[in-house]
C-alpha cells in the first residue's frame, strides 16, 4: 500500500480515536463531579465510542492480516506498524533514519504541547476535553515526521 495512504489512514485513525474517547472523558468528568458533590446522575453518548471500537477492530484485523504475510512472530504480527518497511537493507536504513528523526523532534513536540497546555485555563469552559485533544498532538506529530522523512525515499 502506498505510504501516502497509510499516513492519511493513520491520521484518520487518531482523529477517530479522539472522537471515540471524548464522550468517555466527559463521562469520567461527570462521575468525578458526582463523587465530589454528591450528585446522582451522569450520562454518556456512547455512539462515537461504539463506532470507534467497530472501525478500530476492523483496522486491527487488517493490520494483523497484512503483518501475517511478512512476519511469523505473533507479537510482530500484532504490534508492527504498517508504515514500517524493512524488506531489505536499504529500507531498514531508511526506516532507522526516519525513527532517529522522530526521536530528535519529540522533545520539541513535547515543549510545544506543554506550551499549548497553558491555554487550557482560558478555554476549559469552551473545550473541556482540551487535554485529551493535546494528547493526540504527540502521535500525529510522530507519524507526520516519520512520513515526511520516508516519502521521497520509499
Amino acid at each position: 500500500m502506498k505510504k501516502k495512504w497509510i499516513y492519511w489512514i493513520s491520521i484518520f485513525g487518531f482523529l477517530l480515536t479522539a472522537w471515540g474517547f471524548i464522550p468517555l472523558y466527559s463521562f469520567a468528568s461527570q462521575v468525578a463531579y458526582m463523587i465530589k458533590n454528591d450528585g446522582t446522575q451522569a450520562s454518556v453518548n456512547i455512539t462515537p465510542t461504539i463506532i470507534f471500537l467497530f472501525i478500530s477492530t476492523g483496522f486491527g484485523l487488517l493490520l494483523y492480516r497484512h503483518n501475517s504475510k511478512k512476519h511469523k512472530n505473533i507479537s510482530l504480527k500484532l504490534l508492527m506498524p504498517v508504515e514500517f518497511s524493512e524488506q531489505d537493507e536499504r529500507e531498514k536504513i531508511i526506516t532507522a533514519n526516519a525513527c532517529r528523526k522522530v526521536y530528535l523532534f519529540m522533545p520539541f513536540v513535547f515543549g510545544f504541547t506543554l506550551f499549548l497546555m497553558l491555554l487550557y485555563p482560558f478555554i476549559d469552559d469552551v473545550i473541556p476535553f482540551y487535554p485529551m485533544l493535546l494528547l493526540f498532538v504527540y502521535p500525529i506529530a510522530q507519524i507526520t515526521i516519520y512520513y515526511l522523512s520516508i516519502r521521497k525515499q520509499l
Binding site: 524488506q87 531489505d88 537493507e89 536499504r90 529500507e91 520509499l154
Partner: protein, 78 residues
C-alpha cells in the same frame, strides 16, 4: 569520493530486469534502481552478491572516484 558502478550496463548484458536481479540478490527492485542511480551505497554483502551474479570481481563492478567540483555543488544543492 563517490562510489560508481556498472550494474545497469551489466544487467542489460545479462538480460536481467531490475526485478529479476533484485530477486537473485534478495532485495527490492527499488534498491537496485537506487544503486544504479548512485543514490544508495550497498553494503559489502550486497555488493559481493551482485558481483557474484555477474561473475565479476568487485573492482570491475564498483569503484571509487573523486567527485568533480560541479558534482559536489549539485550534491550540496540536493
Amino acid at each position: 569520493m563517490k562510489l560508481h558502478n556498472r550494474v545497469k550496463e551489466l544487467r542489460a548484458r545479462f538480460n536481467l530486469t531490475q526485478e529479476q536481479l533484485a530477486k537473485k540478490v534478495g532485495v527490492t527492485r527499488q534498491t537496485i534502481a537506487a544503486i544504479e542511480k548512485g543514490d544508495y551505497v550497498p553494503s559489502l554483502f550486497l555488493a559481493l552478491n551482485i558481483c557474484r551474479t555477474f561473475c565479476l570481481p568487485m573492482e570491475k563492478t564498483f569503484w571509487l572516484q573523486e567527485e568533480r567540483d560541479d558534482e559536489k555543488e549539485m550534491d550540496l544543492l540536493d
